[in-house]
């Protein structure tokens, strides 16, 4: 999540309107799910090209794909074998099915990652807010988002001081140190929350966290271009 956030903030597409990026990413996702496997390969190619065009470092992208890939491969492995009356044997059609599944799932994952590595989570929440998500839910989500980073810094600092005092050598000590870290983090988080409340109150907090969010109106022409791209990928993919 932290890696995604860093990529999103440094992405070349960071300031592009959310609507354009969401249309492209979710459109590709829909195509990945609905098109036949060969179409999936096309979708995967387009999504990868787009992610690289947005300035995502290839290695970082690969690392993000690795985790869901492990799940996909485990799922695909089970397609390779068949359990019949005479025991377990390799399936005749299993290899093709497994390949199709991997391709389709991978295309779907990269399509969605395209949005994640070009748009910070906070902006996604603000986008949902415009689509009708209630202000309360959006505020809690944004505060959580902000707090994750503060807590991560705190956890990293505690972990560093534990390591410096040999608290993480040997699994027994490591477990003990991790337990202490978690136990420390909760009161720290509550204390932080209280101090944040003081800081907000000083600026006239009255129960709602209103701020001026940057507005990036989508251009109709660009949205149309994205739509044309999606349609042509869809048509080519279905025909392949």
């Amino acid at each position: 999540m932290i890696a995604c956030d860093r990529l999103a903030h440094t992405s070349r597409w960071r300031t592009r309107p959310l609507a354009e990026k969401a249309l492209l990413s979710l459109g590709l996702l829909a195509l990945a799910v609905t098109l036949p496997p060969a179409g999936g390969a096309l979708v995967l190619g387009v999504a990868l090209t787009a992610a690289l065009a947005a300035g995502t470092p290839p290695l970082a992208l690969l690392r993000l794909i690795a985790a869901p890939m492990a799940f996909i491969l485990t799922g695909a492995l089970t397609l390779l074998v068949e359990i019949g009356a005479d025991g377990i044997h390799l399936s005749a059609t299993g290899a093709t099915q497994a390949a199709a599944l991997v391709l389709r799932a991978l295309a779907a994952v990269v399509s969605l990652l395209l949005l994640a590595v070009t748009t910070p989570a906070s902006e996604l929440v603000q986008g949902l807010r415009r689509l009708g998500l209630s202000a309360e839910v959006a505020e809690v989500a944004l505060a959580t988002y902000r707090f994750l980073f503060v807590l991560q810094d705190t956890a990293a600092a505690i972990h560093a001081t534990q390591t410096a005092r040999l608290g993480t050598t040997g699994w027994r000590r490591r477990i003990r140190s991790t337990g202490m870290l978690v136990a420390t983090l909760l009161p720290r988080a509550l204390d932080r929350a209280h101090r944040l409340e003081v800081g907000l109150a000083a600026r006239g907090f009255d129960g709602s966290l209103r701020t001026i969010s940057p507005t990036r109106p989508a251009q109709g022409r660009r949205l149309a271009l994205v739509a044309v791209l999606l349609v042509s990928v869809g048509v080519t993919g279905a025909w392949l």
């Binding site: 910070p120 902000r146 101090r195 800081g199 006239g204 966290l209 940057p214």
Partner: protein, 277 residues
Amino acid sequence: MAMILEAKGLSYAYPGGVTALSGLDLGVQRGKRLAILGPNGAGKTTLLQHLNGTLKPSAGTVHLDGTIMGHGRTELAAWRRRVGLVLQEPDDQLFAPTVFEDVSFGPLNLGLSEAEARQRVIEALNSLRIADLAERPTHMLSFGQKKRAAIAGAVAMRPDVLLLDEPTAGLDQFGAVHLLAVLEKLQAGGATLVFTTHDVDLAWAWADDIALFDAGQVARQGRPEEVLADAEALSRARLKPPFLLELGLKARQRGWLGADQPLPRNRSDAMALLDGI
């Protein structure tokens, strides 16, 4: 001298029962820079949080322009509109995804329109010289940048009094000098500044007025050359007189500096004094 903010007989104990303030009196002169000087753990932050109504004293009153301030909802809102607070730890203050959004929080709470609020944000970012950070996420800033963003959040509300808790703590020398220059500009624009510090040298170099805080009370308040030369009172608060003040007094004693000439308050004053010997 006209007082903009006054504390009279403030008492406060922490929830554990430890006394923080015991009958404290303090006056803040309009348009001046007041340093609340005291050692670590003396309760300076607690005192500051009384001055904008965050904490409610068990006894005593806070007066803003002579009016006793109450802790009701509407009174607090009016109070905080005029008295801004900047916490020591900027992470306690920054909550929004980007600097611009965070700074816009206060102005919107003042009830300004979005256009007016936007104008205020731009002004505040410019005065803190962080306009280039506007779109940056708050969690990807350095400590010094976070500090300036937090101050911009308070400045954008254009308070009459700005309370700053240890403003230079954690900043490098360049960052501290830069910040003080920004604060001087705010003061020139009419703001009154109150800051806490345990740094006697900073207090000597920069404050117009000093309140020495010790054992829950203001032990002494007055002009820097009076309060900071009181070695006995300082030592009770576990502090020492500032080096440049001692140097200046010594120079007067030796006759190198006339009794009517000002004491050196910064490096260049001291250098000029040495050159004159």
